[in-house]
């Protein structure tokens, strides 16, 4: 009796701790260069923390559309699987060999594959330019750790090709 109540109290304490931690984590400010571990969380919160000036809203909307299309593709694939299972049941009754899924299932599979491919190319995110001089990689704000920034590094040997843009 004591053991059961103690274990229940322990589980409740752990659940409360995780709940509070979860709440605290959701309200922390998203760091600048965050490699977020939960893409779905970011999609639902619509927090698209990027350093780009343009395309801020379309970044997350594209991901949402890709997610919906991916779910649709998976649903179509599961429907095709169910149709194939039923087709095999029919073949067992008529005692024929299974040579391939029927034509409508093949069409469904092709449509599902196309949708999933489109979703796989758009949902994980856009490609970011790696040129430091491009327009979307401009440092529009200083990082938060200005106390630790040094300027006496080997970057001073670069040829100064700075064109001031405002």
């Amino acid at each position: 009796m004591n053991y059961v109540s103690f274990s229940l109290l322990y589980i409740r304490r752990c659940a409360v701790c995780y709940y509070e931690l979860f709440n605290v984590i959701n309200y922390l400010p998203v760091p600048n260069s965050s490699r977020s571990s939960s893409i779905i969380l970011r999609t639902l919160n619509l927090v698209g923390e990027t350093k780009t000036r343009s395309g801020f809203i379309s970044y997350t909307q594209d991901m949402n559309l890709g997610f919906v299309i991916g779910v649709l593709g998976v649903l179509i694939l599961s429907h095709a699987a169910y149709s194939t299972i039923q087709y095999r049941g029919l073949l067992k009754i008529t005692e024929e060999e299974f040579s391939g899924p029927p034509l409508n299932v093949v069409l469904e599979l092709i449509v599902g594959l196309a949708l999933c491919m489109w979703a796989a190319l758009t949902f994980p995110g856009k490609f970011l330019s790696i040129h430091p001089d491009s327009d979307e990689n401009r440092a529009v704000s200083l990082p938060d750790n200005t106390d630790f920034m040094i300027f006496n590094h080997r970057g001073r040997l670069f040829p100064p090709e700075i064109t001031m843009k405002f």
Partner: protein, 114 residues
């Protein structure tokens, strides 16, 4: 400012640099795409009922289509987003093979055996 990697191939001429943080983000995008598509390819191979070598051929066909799709996503100019073409084309080829076989056997069991 981020973290910039510096590659000094020739000190006298222009030193090419690129932002390593963005490169890693792009590689993560490629890896996610390939993993998801290898899972989908596995489910498809299981539903169609491939046996033996045909399934692996199907996997490589899907990976080739993925490479073409990624090249199209990068706008056919790898210089803007990666440091070499090899990363786009051949990065996660064999990494998704295990996931493909797993979901292939899983779907095959579901549809044809169970």
């Amino acid at each position: 400012m981020g973290s910039s990697e510096k590659r000094s191939k020739d000190v006298m001429s222009d030193i090419p640099t690129f932002s390593g943080e963005n490169l890693q983000k792009n590689l993560k995008v490629i890896q996610n795409s390939r993993t998801f598509l290898s899972i989908i390819a596995g489910v498809l191979a299981g539903i169609i009922g491939f046996n033996g070598l045909t399934g692996f051929v199907f996997y490589f066909v899907v990976m080739l289509i993925t490479s073409v799709g990624l090249m199209a996503k990068a706008g056919f100019s790898a210089d803007l987003y990666f440091d070499s073409w090899n990363r786009v084309l051949f990065d996660g080829f064999l990494g998704g093979l295990m996931s493909f076989v797993l979901f292939w056997t899983f779907a095959y069991d579901l549809v044809h055996i169970f």
